[in-house]
Subunit: 547 residues, 2 copies
C-alpha cells in the first residue's frame, strides 16, 4: 500500500479531503451530534466537562465511561454481568462521538461495527456463561497505523485515502480475539515523525484537557482519545516518544515497551518497508492506570506472539516480578532545562519517594542534545524520500509542523555515513548502561520532555524520550501534578546553556500553561518490562496517593 509511490487518482487532494471528511461525519449518528450552540468558545480550556453538559450520554453512560473504571475493572464488571458489552460499547461510542466533535481525535470511525460485535459478545456470554477472553467487551481505540479490514490506513497521507485494508494487523486481531471491541482509529501527524497530530486528511487534533496546548504525537489522537475517555484502552507506536509524549500532554498513562515484547508485524508503514534506521519502533498502550498497561502486555504475551512475528522475543516476560521497593535513579536535566512545572514534578516525586523510604540516587544521563543530533540523522538516512514521495503522489503540501521539525531537509546518507551515526548511537547505549550500573538503580525517574504540552507545533525536541528508544529501555508515563502559576513561576535567574535551552525557556508562560498535565517518565533496564510494570504500579500508588 503506497509503496510504489505512483499517483493513484486524478482527483485533487482537496477533493479527496472533502470526500474523506464527509465519510467520517456520516459515521457519527445524527443523534450523537452536538448542536452548534454546544460547541465551546475559543477561551474554553478544558473540553472534558462538555461530555456531561451536552446531555448526549445518560447518567449511566457517563458512569460507565467515567473515572470510576479503568479497563481492568470494566472487564471485571462485564464478566460479572454488571454491564453488557452493548451497554459499555455504546456508551464509549457516544463519548467518542462527542470527543471527536470537540477535539477531532478520531480517523476511521467504526461505531456500527463495534456495537454489532458487542451484540455477538453478549450472545456468546449469554449462551456459554463465559467471556471470550480477558478483554471481553472492553472498547479500544487504535492509532491510525494499524490495519483493520475494510477501513483505510492512511497514516495521514492523502495518497492512501479510499484504499481499505484487506486484513487486520496481527496485534489488534490478537486483542480482538481476547474480547476487545475496536470503536475507532485515532489521528497522527503527516509523516508520523512529529510530536503533533495534524495532517491534511483529518486535520489537527486538540488536547481535551487544555485546548490551547498541543495533544502531542505522533500518537496524539490516541492521547486525546484516552484523556477524553473515548475508549477504555488505546494503542500507539513509539520510535522517539510517540506514545509517551501524547500520554504526557494529555495526562494519561503510557507504556513504551522494549523492542521484541509486543508484535509490530503487519502494521501500516509510514516509511519504506524494511527500513533499518538502527532505532526500532515499538507498539504500546495508552490508558488510565499502570495495571491496564500491564493487562495489555499480559494479554499480548499470553497469545505467544513469537509464533507469528519473527521480531518478537520469547522468554523475556516469563516468571513473576519481584515484589520490591526499587532503587530510584533521578535524572533531572540534560542539555535543555525543563520548564518549572516539570522540574517541580521531578523534585516533588523524588522527595515523596524518599519520604516513603525509597532509596533515591542521582542519575547523570549522556548528553541528550548529542543524542538528538544522532537520532535526527538516523531518522533521515533516506533524506525522507518516502514521506516526500507520498506527498508528491497526491500533490498535498507538508503541513507546517512537519516543516518545523528541523530535519525535513537533511540529506540522505551513504552507508558509511549511516554507520558512523549508528556507531555514535552505540556509544550512547554504552554510556547509558555504564551510568545505570554505576548508580546501581532499578528504575530511573526522568522528565518526558523539557516542558509540559506546549502550544501546537512547539514540541520540537524529543531528546528526553528518543534516548530511551535509542537504548531500547522500556518506559512508563505516569501523570503527576499540573502546571500552577503559583508554584511554577518563570525562572527569572535563568541563564541559557545553549540556543536550544534559551528557545525552550522562551516557550514558557505560567498563565498560559496553567492546568497543563505534568508527567513523569519511569524507565527500566532493557527487556525488564515485566518488573518495570510492577515497579511503576507501586511508585504510582505512592506518588498519586492510591497506596
Amino acid at each position: 500500500m503506497g509503496v510504489d509511490q505512483e499517483p493513484v487518482t486524478k482527483k485533487t487532494w482537496q477533493e479527496l479531503q472533502a470526500a474523506k471528511e464527509a465519510e467520517r461525519n456520516a459515521r457519527i449518528p445524527e443523534e450523537w451530534k452536538l448542536r452548534p450552540d454546544q460547541l465551546p468558545s475559543e477561551d474554553v480550556v478544558d473540553l472534558r466537562p462538555i461530555v456531561k453538559s451536552c446531555g448526549i450520554l445518560s447518567p449511566a453512560e457517563l458512569a460507565i465511561t467515567g473515572e470510576e473504571y479503568d479497563a481492568t475493572s470494566l472487564a471485571a464488571a462485564i464478566a460479572a454481568g454488571k454491564f453488557t458489552a452493548v451497554e459499555v460499547v455504546t456508551a464509549f461510542c457516544k463519548r467518542a462521538a462527542v470527543g471527536q466533535q470537540l477535539c477531532n481525535m478520531l480517523t476511521e470511525i467504526m461505531f456500527a461495527d463495534a456495537i454489532q460485535r458487542a451484540k455477538e459478545l453478549d450472545d456468546i456470554f449469554a449462551s456459554t456463561g463465559k467471556v471470550v477472553g480477558p478483554l471481553h467487551g472492553v472498547p479500544m481505540t487504535w492509532k491510525e497505523c494499524f490495519h483493520f479490514k475494510g477501513y483505510d490506513s492512511t497514516n495521514g497521507y492523502m495518497s492512501r485515502v479510499f484504499q481499505p485494508a484487506d486484513r487486520t494487523s496481527p496485534l489488534p486481531a490478537l486483542l480482538q480475539a481476547a474480547g476487545a471491541v475496536v470503536i475507532s482509529k485515532t489521528n497522527v501527524p503527516q509523516t508520523m515523525l512529529v510530536a503533533e497530530a495534524h495532517n491534511n486528511v483529518f486535520g489537527r487534533t486538540r488536547n481535551p484537557v487544555h485546548a490551547r496546548l498541543t495533544c502531542g504525537g505522533s500518537s496524539g489522537g490516541e492521547g486525546a482519545s484516552q484523556a477524553f475517555r473515548c475508549s477504555a484502552l488505546g494503542v500507539g507506536t513509539d520510535v522517539g516518544g510517540s506514545v509517551r509524549i501524547p500520554a504526557a500532554c494529555n495526562g494519561v498513562y503510557g507504556y513504551k515497551p522494549s523492542f521484541g515484547v509486543i508484535p509490530m508485524a503487519g502494521y501500516s508503514y509510514s516509511g519504506w518497508p524494511g527500513s533499518n534506521t538502527g532505532v526500532p519502533a515499538v507498539s504500546g498502550p495508552l490508558g488510565h492506570s499502570v495495571r491496564d498497561l500491564a493487562l495489555f502486555a499480559a494479554v499480548v504475551r499470553a497469545a505467544e506472539p513469537w509464533r507469528f512475528d519473527p521480531a518478537v522475543a520469547p522468554g523475556v516476560m516469563e516468571g513473576e516480578p519481584a515484589a520490591r521497593r526499587p532503587v530510584v535513579g533521578v535524572m533531572r536535566a540534560s542539555g535543555i532545562a525543563p520548564h518549572p512545572p516539570v522540574r517541580r514534578a521531578i523534585r516533588e516525586a523524588a522527595a515523596k519517594l524518599a519520604a516513603a523510604g525509597f532509596e533515591v540516587r542521582e542519575f547523570a544521563p549522556p548528553d541528550l542534545l548529542a543524542v538528538r543530533d544522532i537520532s535526527e540523522q538516523l531518522f533521515t538516512l533516506d533524506g525522507l524520500s518516502y514521506p516526500k514521495g507520498e506527498c508528491a503522489r497526491s500533490g498535498e503540501p507538508p503541513v507546517p509542523s512537519v516543516l518545523a521539525i528541523g530535519f525535513w531537509d537533511l540529506p540522505a546518507k551513504t552507508q558509511e555515513e549511516a554507520w558512523a551515526w549508528n556507531a555514535r548511537k552505540g556509544g550512547v547505549q554504552k554510556e547509558m548502561l555504564d551510568e545505570w550500573q554505576r548508580v546501581g538503580c532499578d528504575v530511573v525517574l526522568a522528565p518526558v520532555g523539557p516542558h509540559t504540552a506546549p502550544r501546537p507545533g512547539e514540541w520540537t525536541s524529543d531528546h528526553y524520550t528518543v534516548v530511551w528508544n535509542m537504548c531500547d529501555y522500556p518506559a512508563i508515563i505516569v501523570p503527576f501534578t499540573h502546571a500552577d502559576p503559583a508554584l511554577d513561576p518563570a525562572d527569572v535567574e535563568f541563564k541559557p546553556m545553549n540556543a536550544a535551552d534559551k528557545k525552550n525557556h522562551d516557550l514558557y508562560d505560567p498563565e498560559l500553561f496553567k492546568g497543563a498535565p505534568v508527567a513523569l517518565q519511569i524507565v527500566g533496564p532493557r527487556l525488564g518490562d515485566k518488573q518495570l510494570l510492577k515497579d511503576a504500579e507501586l511508585l504510582d500508588s505512592i506518588l498519586n496517593g492510591t497506596a
Copy 2:
C-alpha cells in the same frame, strides 16, 4: 584501529609480511620445532597422527591433550588436583606448536604468557585450595578478531600489523576471569567474509583431518585448532556460517548462538564500526563436546554480560531446560542438492533418531538460493569499501579466495535499495517461522552446506548456514560420519536444478573426499539457546553412540 584508513607505514606489504612471519616463528620455542624430515609429504591426508610420531609431546602430554578429555572433564581434573594448570597449559602449547607447523592455524602465539598465567593459577590453587572459576587452567584459543592487550588484531589485514591492542576484549577477559588460559589466536580469511582462512599476513590454514580439503572459515584457524586439539576450547564468530562451516570441515563441535546471548562488544571490527547490515554477527565456541559448548555459554551468562554490553539480552537463558525428547524437523535440501555423504548423513541421522523413538517430521525451508542472494546484497551495502580501503592502505592485493566469493564487485546500495533487501530478509524470517509452526518441531536437523569440506577456496555458497543468521536461530554443529566412497558414490542419475546445483555436483569426487568429516546442523528457535544445547546433547548421545 584501522578505521581512518590512512596509510600507516612506508614499508611494503611484503616487508611487513616477512617481519610478521619472523615474529610468529620466534614465539615457538626451538625445542618444540619439527625437524624438516618430520614434515609430511604432499600425499599425507590426515596430519593429526604426527603429533604422536614427532616425539615432542610426552605420553602424559599426549594423554592430557588427547580424546580422553573435553574442556569439562579437563577442568574437573585440574580442580581435583590430578593435573596442574602448568602441566595442562604446557601440554597444549606444545601440541599447538606442532599443529602450527603442520597446518598454520595460529596467528598471535602467546605460549610464554600462557605458561606464566598457569603458574599464577597453580599458586592460587595451592594457597587457597580453590579454583578461580569453572575454567581454571583450561587452555583456550581465540579467533584473530578478539583483542588481547599487547598483541595485534589484524583480522588478516596487512594494514594493521604491529599495532598491538591496548586492551583485551570483554568476552575473552570474562573467560580469563573464570580461569581460562589463552594460548594463541587463530587464523581468518582476509575480509573475514570467506569460508576459508587465507590472508597475506599469515598465509593459508590447512585442514588437519584432511589436508587436501579446506579448513573452512571464516573461523577456519579455530576449526583446525580444535581438530588438532591445539586447545581445549576455542571461540569464533559467525555472520554467515563462520563458526559452523569450519566446525563441520574439521569434524568438531560448534555453536552459533542467537544474537544477544553472548557479548560481542569491543572485538576487532572487520568492517566499518557501527555497520548495520540487518544480519547480526555473533560469537560462539568450537570444541569437543556439546557439553563444552554449554559450559562456555553458562560461564559467559553467569558473568551477567548485559551489565557491560548493551546488545546482550538479560533473561533469555534463565531457568532449567526441559528434559525432553524433542520433535525433530528434517531439512534435506533447498536450491542445491548436497553431495552424497551429506545426504546420507541426514538420512542416517533421521533414521537413527526415528528408531530411537523420536518423532521425525519433514521440514520445507524457504528457497535458500534466494536467501543467498539477499545475504550477498546485505553484506555488500557499502560495496565492501572497508576491506577494499584496508587493502589499499598497505598495498596488499586481495587473495584469490576473496576474489572468488562472487560478491567482491557488487556495488554499494542506496538506503532505499538496502531497505528493499532488508524487507526481503523479513519475508524469509516470516516464511521460516511459519514453516516451523506448521511442522510443530522443537529442533531442525539440517545440512551445514551442500558438501563436506571441498578443496580450498571452493566453499563459495553459505546458503545452508546464512539462513539461520538471517533468521537469528541458534544452531549447533555435531560431527556425524565421514565421507566413504563405498557408501557415497557419485550420483549418476543427477539432473541439476540450476547452474549452482550443477557446479556443486561437479565438485564431488568420492576418492578425493574419502575420510572427510560430515556434520549435522541442529537448529533451535530464536533465543531458545539453552533448551537447544540440552536437546543437542541428547541427540548427539544417540547419534554418536555415547548414550
